[in-house]
Symmetry: C2
Subunit: 295 residues, 2 copies
């Protein structure tokens, strides 16, 4: 069985990060590496275009997964080479789903997400208490505290995969080997797809901090608030407005279009565009995420 190529296509629409899925949201675009493919990336592009009609722009390799030995079929082991692609939704495309539909606890901008985390931590505390030895109990508690930012550690938005795997072990998600009684809200996916999605979310959240990739998700022109809302949606965390603007301004990556946003409430906002020229011209940082306290 040849390795399989699998893609996580991300776009942001109405301040919601979206992922392109197949089969009612249970699968991601994927297909086996074939002899005719010129490279891994070309193979990936062909499969995605064939299955979704979406032509990919910039693409980045994520991680290579292998099936657990229990799942090894007659043709051998399934090896998944995963990719992240940032793009924009095109008119009439179907299959886009909000990524927080799959990971509702990852949205810490809304009170629902924060409440959900409180409930999860309770359930995980019970799980920790069920460990056989005292040492294992303590180890579990420390892991919960670390991944969910308890005890003054603060929420780390990049620990998406670690949180998912903890929930998986605690049998709180439908994919778990023997899901417990309390299954959390959040759609499941087939096979390993939700782990692949979690990996993509973590990588994107990490990347917007040190590369200006957020602009790949923006329309041609946008207001500063729109940009902030997009970053917040991806990071799942609210940010301080004035500091965000200061940061974006001093990076010099955008310029005014001279126009003003239409149909807005309040004082009209100036429109900006990304300066494509600067890419390549110098080394550039992303947004360092000026965080705000949860409201």
């Amino acid at each position: 069985m040849p390795p399989e190529l699998i893609a996580v296509l991300i776009a942001v629409s109405d301040d919601r990060p979206m992922v392109l899925t197949l089969e009612g949201g249970r699968l991601l675009p994927s297909g086996p590496l074939e002899a005719g493919h010129r490279s891994l990336q070309t193979g990936l592009r062909l499969w995605v275009e064939h299955q979704t009609g979406h032509a990919l722009g910039h693409v980045e390799q994520l991680y290579t997964f292998a099936d657990a030995p229990a799942d090894v079929g007659p043709d051998g082991r399934r090896v998944l080479i995963s990719y992240l692609a940032l793009t924009r939704i095109r008119r009439g495309e179907r299959g886009w789903r909000g990524w927080y539909d799959y990971f509702p606890w990852e949205d810490q901008t809304a009170p629902e997400g924060r409440d959900l985390v409180l409930r999860i931590v309770q359930l995980l505390d019970e799980w920790a208490a069920r460990a056989s030895s005292a040492a294992e109990q303590e180890a579990r508690r420390q892991r919960v505290a670390l991944t969910f930012g308890l005890e003054g550690l603060g929420w780390d938005d990049e620990l998406v995969l670690q949180r998912y795997e903890l929930l998986w072990e605690a049998a709180l998600v439908p994919e778990s080997a023997s899901p417990g009684a309390a299954v959390l809200p959040g759609l499941g996916m087939a096979r390993d797809e939700r782990r692949v999605l979690a990996t993509a979310m973590a990588r994107l959240r990490a990347k917007i901090r040190y590369r200006p990739v957020i602009y790949e998700l923006m329309p041609d022109s946008f207001t500063l608030l729109h940009l902030q809302r997009t970053v917040e949606a991806v990071a799942g965390q609210p940010m301080h407005k004035q500091n965000f603007r200061r940061l974006v301004a001093q990076q010099g990556l955008i310029e005014e279009t001279g126009e003003v946003a239409p149909d807005t409430r309040g004082r009209p906002a100036r429109l900006f565009r990304f300066r494509r020229e600067v890419i390549g011209a110098r080394r550039i940082a992303g947004s360092k995420l000026p965080l705000a306290r949860p409201i």
Copy 2:
């Protein structure tokens, strides 16, 4: 043909970063994924132990490569899943080579490395001038400036792979499709191994900035200067001594052993050890590399 697992084992000895090789330094430990392997990592561990006798500690996946279509053999395409492992050299082990033997231009702590870069930039300028169109010439020049830190951009120690691929394109390394007359100093390797090594170097250089992985490369007890020299050796850049100590001290990751380094010149230095307990207890940063100007 099943995917192949390949490992870059790194250690630091006498302030020189070393890599574990086979076949006279031309190969890295590797072997195909087999049905009996419980996971990719287990497969990798088995192969490395079988081929080198070295049991691996912590391991991290790097990148998955595929052969160029021209190199696809009768059994199909070769897919390489690469890993980085940090370790220490054990007594009597053979096959360890200095990584700067393969990438001499990556050592910017020594004047030889800096002089070599000057020569390389000259050769690349000529290569840029040989481009067919003016636009392509300009694009090449910009790429050279970016990857080699010209025009006030500063040397970026993480661009190991980008520099290697640029030299490859300019036919300045023995692996190039048609190596030119001027082949640079630096050992070549078989197949894609030198690209894998470059990827590992870049990842390690990036990682010591935000995770305390440098301690995986240190002996049980060490002086602050020894720690600094190790970081400098990995990063290939000199650092400011006092600032380095301030940084390390404020991280609270090490503690004094109470002893003093033996057989030292100058004022004797206190010995420190890494506090293994703090791993997992909190989220911790690496060394932010207080850089010094090239001397």
